[in-house]
Symmetry: C2
Subunit: 226 residues, 2 copies
């Protein structure tokens, strides 16, 4: 690999990991804003999203510049295309963290809702998947990426369970319908964050092995409540 | 432009429009399955999704091949990167249509729910945005693309209205909670389909004008209920 291209690729890797860390922080803060009914932390997540957006634009421009100037082929080309796609996913993760934060800001103004659902466990699961998908990218580890794919079913199941619990809770406490629907939305956002982690993991595998694995897992998933 | 590259780009354009037409059909059929309580049409949408997935994989491979073999620059490079991203969006639109179809299949087995919400109007709006974003791509029309961006607020407002209506309907008919939550989900899926149409329109503008417009509109949007 020519030394200039090598440098560009190292730079892209650094940038995408920075964006990844920003997205991870946003998800962590948004979910802890829900757990701790912390409106000011929720507002912070919402404010910080501009920075993620700027970073995403910068990374895309750098990818295009690298493609145009260095005309990479083979694994380098695949790496840059993977970065373009992962960049997109991370920006959406940031948007979803904002959506969770908006729910947190609303829920903090309402009386607490007591449901028998371990929101924290679901949040942790989504964060772990995101973290592992980015680790897989840093370490170029298809093994780690496959672990992410394997855990997607778990979070889907959690989301389906949340549906049933919220439905029952609405029956029992119709006065809390508003808050309960917001909780359900937060759970759906977490599930979508996990979906993006899955996309990232799939792109890492494709980059390493040249094998497109997406759509394979889908066949096995119960789809009813997504 | 070398004649081979010209041919590849024409071919990519044809393929992405084919995928776009497939996605449009999936959305149209899924929403009419909801409207007409048509379980077999819903199942057809679910079955057909494999074809969209295959098409997406094929388009991505062709993009990579074109990048590697022809090393395009400037507008050609931007076009191919836009196709890569639009390809992704269309595949997700297909997945969302499947999600809507799954709701339709469930709702068809339940007693009809009567709410004062014009689901058909929302479905039509989402379909129009998708169609117009693809027209903008075919015609390379930034004007048409901007019209898509302008209508995104409308569908967000519809989705917010749906929230409130469902919340009230649950209070009035707690026995229909299950169906109502499924209706709400279908509405959210439509809103996300419109989001993807917006992404496509933004990519078309970027391709034509080299201006990144995403994140601009976001600032103006009421975010509370997304």
């Amino acid at each position: 690999m020519p030394v200039h291209l090598f440098r560009e690729i190292e730079n892209l890797k650094k940038e995408i990991l920075t964006l990844g860390a920003m997205a991870e922080t946003a998800v962590r803060d948004a979910t802890s804003a829900i757990e701790n009914r912390d409106e000011s932390l929720a507002q912070e997540v919402i404010r910080n999203d501009d920075r993620l957006d700027e970073m995403e634009v910068q990374i895309e421009e750098n990818c295009l510049k690298t493609l145009a100037l260095h005309q990479p082929v083979a694994i380098d080309l695949r790496f840059i295309v993977a970065v373009l796609k992962i960049n997109n996913d991370l920006e959406r993760v940031g948007d979803l963290a904002v959506n969770v934060a908006e729910r947190a800001a609303f829920l903090a103004t309402q009386p607490p809702v007591d449901i028998s659902f371990d929101f924290q466990a679901m949040a942790r699961q989504a964060q772990e998947m995101l973290k592992k998908s980015l680790d897989a990218l840093v370490n170029l580890s298809a093994q780690q990426a496959r672990e992410v794919l394997a855990s997607d079913d778990k979070i889907d199941a959690m989301n389906r369970q949340m549906y049933l619990i919220v439905q029952d809770a609405i029956h029992a406490h119709p006065d809390q319908t508003g808050s309960l629907i917001h909780m359900l939305s937060a759970s759906r956002h977490l599930e979508r964050i996990a979906d993006h982690a899955t996309n990232i993991a799939e792109d890492v595998i494709y980059m390493i092995e040249g094998v497109i694995v997406r759509h394979k897992a889908e066949e096995y998933r119960a789809q009813m409540f997504r």
